[in-house]
Symmetry: C2
Subunit: 220 residues, 2 copies
DNA sequence: GTCTATAAAGGGATAGAC
DNA sequence: GTCTATCCCTTTATAGAC
């Protein structure tokens, strides 16, 4: 890393080797961290700035408002999930194999980008409780649409698995919800251990997926 | 009911047939109602007062602060869950039968006190990450303890089911987390339909429990 | 026991300096 | 591109009237 956030902030100018896109990224990551730790309402723009070692001026330069900042974090979270799961969903194998792979990829996202993913969860509440003004209704609708597309990957894979005989659920839509519920909850209780490696996370993800997909009852 | 909240508020005195404990209950119920409708962060003390047809003076007379009010609501939410599941956990039947009954009871709580339960699970995290001062540390610890006791009901039932051969999971603790994750998520996506009855909810709860406990793979 | 009025603090957003 | 200073509104909490 060429320079810390503090260095950049106190210098007042962006170093030549830091692209404008990356400066914006830094603000976005700081916001995700804050939203996860304190929730949306209790996160102030000052908190986000403080996490950057900067002041509000920098945050407002990159994002018009607090809702705007939240929406961008939400969108990024969705992009991460989609890029992780879509290739698996479109790949080869039985329905069960694809679902298994998607579930593992989803779980790893919950572990490795949990600040973004927790913020994503809050977005649902914001939508349902009307926590932001009606002027943002349209933006929220669009983000909810993204979520629906992602969920559809799972619904369709369930349907494919039923068709090829490798999956058995009474209702693909309900199955998608309970599966994603179990996996999304990982972002609530999981926290990385010191010295943890990618291998450890993959192993844990596999154990989680095996537990959930296999069910809890003893096999007759 | 002898008098409405509005009547009491405008009279300025408590009727002789209303015990002080019940007056406090009314405030608590109003707070719970607000937390259910708007979530914790978006609820102001004025909102609670408004729901009572009163002003803040009344709320602050019974509860020191907003965190105090939150803690009391949290405790009530835990009581609801505990009273629903503890009898089933202590009842008869195989481990699988008890777990099944507990899961159904838990799911019904998620549906019927939806936002209430969401405030419960999400709200504690916000406090744990240190938004409030150390003066609430003790109260917070106690509430976390209640949650642990509740989760233990499920852990122990998993262990019992493994012992009697009706359940099969690699790790009871992990199984508890994925199961409660799937069920807690119901509070995120569920919303009651117009004209919905208790019977509809029970049927849906049973379908959810069957999907989760049975697993998603086709049985060989 | 509840109300009105108000103090004190926090936080969103903007303007203009550098 | 970031900072400082500031406006204005909301919210928590308290003081004292009734």
């Amino acid at each position: 890393m060429p320079a810390s956030a503090q260095d950049i902030a106190s210098s007042g100018i962006a170093p030549p080797d830091t692209a404008p896109q990356d400066r914006r990224e830094e603000v976005l990551a700081a916001a995700a961290e804050c939203f996860m730790r304190r929730g949306y309402e209790q996160t102030s723009m000052d908190h986000v700035a403080e996490a950057l070692g900067a002041t509000k001026g920098r945050v407002y330069h990159h994002f018009r408002s607090k809702p705007e900042l939240f929406f961008q974090v939400y969108r990024r979270a969705m992009d991460i999930l989609m890029q992780a799961c879509e290739p698996v969903a479109a790949g080869g194998g039985t329905g069960e194999q694809r679902l298994s792979g998607m579930a593992k990829a989803h779980t790893l996202c919950m572990m490795e980008t949990r600040t973004f993913q927790r913020t994503l969860t809050m977005g649902v509440d914001l939508y349902r409780f009307g926590g932001t003004g009606p002027e943002h209704k349209a933006a929220l609708e669009e983000l909810m649409g993204l979520r629906f597309v992602y969920e559809d990957l799972f619904r369709h894979t369930f349907a494919a698995g039923i068709a090829d005989g490798t999956l058995a659920v009474p209702d693909p839509s309900l199955a998608m919800r309970t599966l994603l519920g179990a996996l999304n909850w990982v972002a609530v209780w999981y926290s990385p251990r010191p010295g943890e490696t990618r291998q450890h996370r993959e192993r844990l993800a596999e154990e989680i997926v095996e537990t959930v997909l296999g069910g809890y009852r003893a096999k007759a």
